[in-house]
Assembly symmetry: C2
Homo-oligomer: 248 residues x 2
Amino acid sequence: MTTGVRRRMGVDERRAQLIGVALELFGRRSPDEVSIDEIAAAAGISRPLVYHYFPGKQSLYEAALGRAADELSGRFLEAHEGPLGTRLLRVMGRFFDFVDEHGPGFAALMRGGPAGGSSRADAMVDGVRQAAYEQILAHLQVASPPARLELVVRSWVSLAEATALLWLDGRRVPRAELELRLVHDFGALAAVSAAYDAETARIVLRVFAQEPADGPFGDLLGRLAVLLPDMAAVPPQRGPGGRVQRLL
Amino acid sequence: MTTGVRRRMGVDERRAQLIGVALELFGRRSPDEVSIDEIAAAAGISRPLVYHYFPGKQSLYEAALGRAADELSGRFLEAHEGPLGTRLLRVMGRFFDFVDEHGPGFAALMRGGPAGGSSRADAMVDGVRQAAYEQILAHLQVASPPARLELVVRSWVSLAEATALLWLDGRRVPRAELELRLVHDFGALAAVSAAYDAETARIVLRVFAQEPADGPFGDLLGRLAVLLPDMAAVPPQRGPGGRVQRLL
């Protein structure tokens, strides 16, 4: 129900209102299931007036996606203060907030929704991935990463997406646990790469050397130090001069 | 150019031939860029005859995708013999063979190609993921995994997809290195989960206890035993009775 008296909105204001309404509807249900009629009703205007501002559902969807992409990219911004693990954990909290708020829309987009095959929608998704990638490099204080470190960061961004999608499908593991898990996964993937690539190892060791024992990375390292020896059927290899014994 | 004399094919044979031709063309270039005319020419038949067997490009694309999905799922099959890390490495080799052979088609599908938004295509991709997931559980000898282990396996399958896509985009890291990296990543993600979940830890420790020191997992553990202490700014936590010292 709308009131009989409606204030006339300017063009930009009306477009912004429609994008907001669409974003909420596209977020709460799969965009396939949302009609222009429904958007018109939710905005309190006629269907033809929606088409006056947006030529079709696809263009309104892309506009809503653009706003969502800007909002999500904004959530990756984090002050360069304190332990890296703690920073990353705060970002993961805001990422899961976003996934929680826009669940069905996020899932539909990532699984190929109505904008699947739209190069504009694909470009927006890639833009968000790129924003995440660049933020992480900035926190690592690396301007031009070696190819292997780039791969670690980009594949971890994909892992975060996949983990969020798996979480949405049943929510069987508490999200707070997954936020922390993803921070740990980042450390683990970085450590694997560092174990086989000296250039990555230099960067990873510099970064992790600043992590406190009670931060997310320090806690993981402490636990792995207990777990890993149990995982090995044979005594671990020792570096020159019995390095393992010296350091542990 | 075709010869003047052509043997007449049966319906099933012709459909199979068209699927084969389509699969090769859809694999070598983005499916968007492949026309029915081109498929007809490559099969040596007329455009109307293609439409006699397949009502449109989408149905031919889905048929080709179905064959590719079956083929890829078949490559996950691996004898339950020898170390798990070595088995997984062989599967990764066959997976990258597939990605190499069908690169542009694989990338277009995963990034939302012409079949994006097609629920049949999405279902086929999900079917391949499910096949990978089930194969891994079978090798882990786990019938009904705890939620956290399920998440490890499924998110690692996504990581393998993402890593293959990143590799296709420039091929800046040798594929053999990435095949091994993904095996290591599986071990690392499993270890992270095991570090925080006793139920997963029991399974992971049982599996890894059978890995030889010179296998992929054993080698990683040996390297991490050297690297991890350097990553910790402070001495690692010790379990009851100085467990770390005893085991290392």
